[in-house]
């Protein structure tokens, strides 16, 4: 049984009815017809709901526990991969993973968050919140990509960097700042995909793509709606309002000219069809990779710097 979100209640109701009918183990035509009616109703309702998700509903969808995770993305998009570990300084942070990967003969270096898929891995990975050693592993991989001229693919899905004493003690700020700096200096192109939650500085540290692409129902925000609500409204009960005000949906970010493109998700969201979602990401990746094939490292770095310096230009006076 799928995990339904609160606003998917009508779907859950239809599904429950279908389960009941199936439970009867009655093969009569009546039941079969009723089941197919219900299925039709379900599909219609599903596409209705997902056509008009509110920002706060998108926040819930992008955090859905069944959304594609790093290992799914790597295994379904790439033909071959070799995972790499550790920051060579302190530890291996498994909330931020990296690997060498191939599609056919095309080689990539892939870096991404991993929120984990069950209780144990979620706890181990701090729910996708990286510590300094995670960002420092990313920096090490940025350098490898730069040296061996491998295009970098980043998959972003994090609530943000981990807020904890040890993370602070080991320089969370420095780790994020240096990740931003080093990724901007990488000599090969970077393609960033926000596949779930693009949370604050932790997302920026991995998000310095020459192209930044978001899945249709993903978000990218300076602060979580809950965090914003508790600061500005002094209560997380106002999270929905905060989500609306923050303009954090993929559609908002495209309007604001912060991202380059949106990948439409399968009906009912990426979590309902991980395979199709991965195919769509793969198509996009293969297409955008070609755009950078004939650029020199200097042109690639300049392209990236210019892209970020120009963000917000449309809001400047004169």
């Amino acid at each position: 049984m799928q995990n339904f979100l609160d606003f998917e209640k009508p779907l859950l109701d239809i599904q429950s009815k279908m389960e009941e009918l199936r439970h009867l183990k009655d093969n009569s035509e009546n039941i079969a017809n009723e089941l197919s009616n219900l299925q039709e109703k379900f599909d219609k309702k599903l596409s209705e709901i997902y056509k008009e998700l509110t920002p706060f509903q998108k926040v819930k969808v992008c955090r859905h526990q069944d959304r594609p995770k790093f290992d799914d993305l790597v295994s379904k998009i790439f033909d071959k991969s070799e995972y790499l570990s550790g920051d060579r300084l302190f530890a291996d942070d498994t909330s931020l993973k990296g690997c060498l990967a191939k599609i056919g003969n095309k080689k990539f270096l892939v870096i991404g968050n991993d929120k984990g898929k069950d209780i144990d891995s979620r706890v181990k990975n701090n729910f996708g919140m990286a510590k300094p050693e995670g960002y420092r592993k990313a920096q090490r991989l940025f350098n490898i990509a730069s040296k061996f001229n491998l295009p970098i693919v980043t998959f972003i899905d994090t609530p943000g960097a981990f807020p904890g004493v040890e993370a602070e003690d080991r320089g969370q700020s420095e780790a994020i700042a240096t990740s931003i700096k080093k990724s901007l200096m990488v000599r090969s192109p970077i393609f960033s995909f926000v596949v779930g939650e693009g949370g604050s500085g932790g997302a920026v540290a991995m998000g310095m793509g020459n192209k930044v692409v978001m899945l249709e129902h993903s978000i990218y925000s300076v602060i979580s709606p809950e965090g914003c609500a508790s600061i500005l409204w002094r209560s997380i009960n106002h999270s929905e309002k905060a989500a609306e005000n923050l303009k954090l949906t993929a559609q908002d970010l495209l309007d604001l000219e912060v991202i380059d493109e949106i990948i439409k998700e399968p009906i009912g969201g990426a979590h309902r069809n991980v395979n199709e979602t991965c195919d769509l990401i793969k198509d996009c990746l293969e297409r955008i990779t070609e755009e950078f094939e004939n650029m020199t490292p200097e042109e690639i770095i300049l392209h990236r710097e210019k892209k970020y310096l120009e963000i917000g230009n449309k809001f400047m006076e004169n």
């Binding site: 904890g164 320089g171 994020i176 700042a177 700096k181 500085g201 990218y220 954090l248 400047m316």
Partner: protein, 279 residues
């Protein structure tokens, strides 16, 4: 090839004159609770004479402490106010107007050039009084302006940070000031111009996690709070009491995160010495 296109020619701007502080105003030290005569406090660089507590000061006060009377404040690019039409209990555009009125500054960062112990420098200063020193588009532009000016005029760059982080009301556009300011300060690393980052109370969030931690030399003013996450958020996450002195300058230097902790009264001399070593 060069990405500086919107370089703004610095203009001499009249600087708001110092108001005389009446003799009878008192301030309570938040650290030792002693009563301090405001005029005395000001003459002591806003440092408590009893416990050495460093009071937060405005960007203008910082500017005059640092460059005396001989500086020029630069015009920085103007942003269309409130790009997201953000409204909590109040409209962001109203909050912004109030802050501008209260502080008589355009936004949270002042950029100036002047002389410190005979050395010409470019300086950018955050003002915590201006919406918590938060970094939105205008502040980001100010940092870019300061870096461009330093580079074009071959001057050392000093940035005094004092900020709670990114300005939430500008959403993703404020978050994007992290890479923008990193690109700006990084452009100095292709030259031999020093970038001295001075962290003052408080420097956190998107400011500490971007350009502020990338100084060639990082100085923290005594007693400042410096970190990525706020202590309340950390406490709620780990549900434990925080170590003593956590995220204070004196704690950070033990962790190896900064170069020097400096008393406010010795800051000018120290910065001047470092410039001397590096240029």
């Amino acid at each position: 090839m060069n990405w500086i296109t919107n370089f703004v020619r610095p203009k001499l701007q009249a600087f708001v004159g110092k108001k005389e502080v009446p003799d009878n105003l008192w301030e309570t030290c938040p650290k030792c609770s002693q009563m301090l005569l405001k005029r005395e406090l000001e003459n002591n660089s806003f440092v408590c004479k009893h416990c050495d507590h460093h009071f937060r000061i405005s960007a203008k006060q910082r500017l005059s402490f640092f460059l005396g009377n001989n500086f020029m404040v630069m015009d920085t690019p103007k942003v269309k106010a409130d790009p997201l039409k953000f409204k909590d209990n109040k409209k962001y555009s109203d909050r912004l107007k109030e802050a501008q009125k209260k502080n008589s500054t355009y936004d949270s960062v002042i950029v100036a050039s002047g002389t410190i112990e005979k050395k010409k420098v470019t300086v950018a200063i955050f003002d915590f009084n201006f919406m918590g020193g938060s970094m939105g588009m205008a502040a980001g532009e100010a940092i870019v302006t300061a870096c461009n000016y330093a580079r074009n005029n071959n001057l050392p760059l000093i940035i005094f940070s004092s900020s709670g982080g990114a300005r939430m009301q500008e959403g993703i556009l404020s978050l994007m000031q992290m890479p923008r300011t990193v690109i700006a300060v990084n452009s100095l690393s292709k030259t031999n111009l020093p970038f001295i980052s001075v962290l003052t109370d408080p420097t956190t969030g998107g400011v500490s996690a971007s350009f502020a931690m990338l100084g060639d030399i990082i100085i923290a003013e005594k007693d400042a709070t410096i970190g990525f996450a706020g202590s309340r958020v950390i406490e709620e996450t780990i549900k434990e009491k925080l170590p003593q002195n956590f995220q204070k300058s004196e704690y950070l230097i033990e962790k190896g995160m900064i170069d020097i902790v400096v008393h406010r009264k010795e800051l000018n001399k120290k910065i001047s010495d470092i410039i001397e070593f590096l240029t």
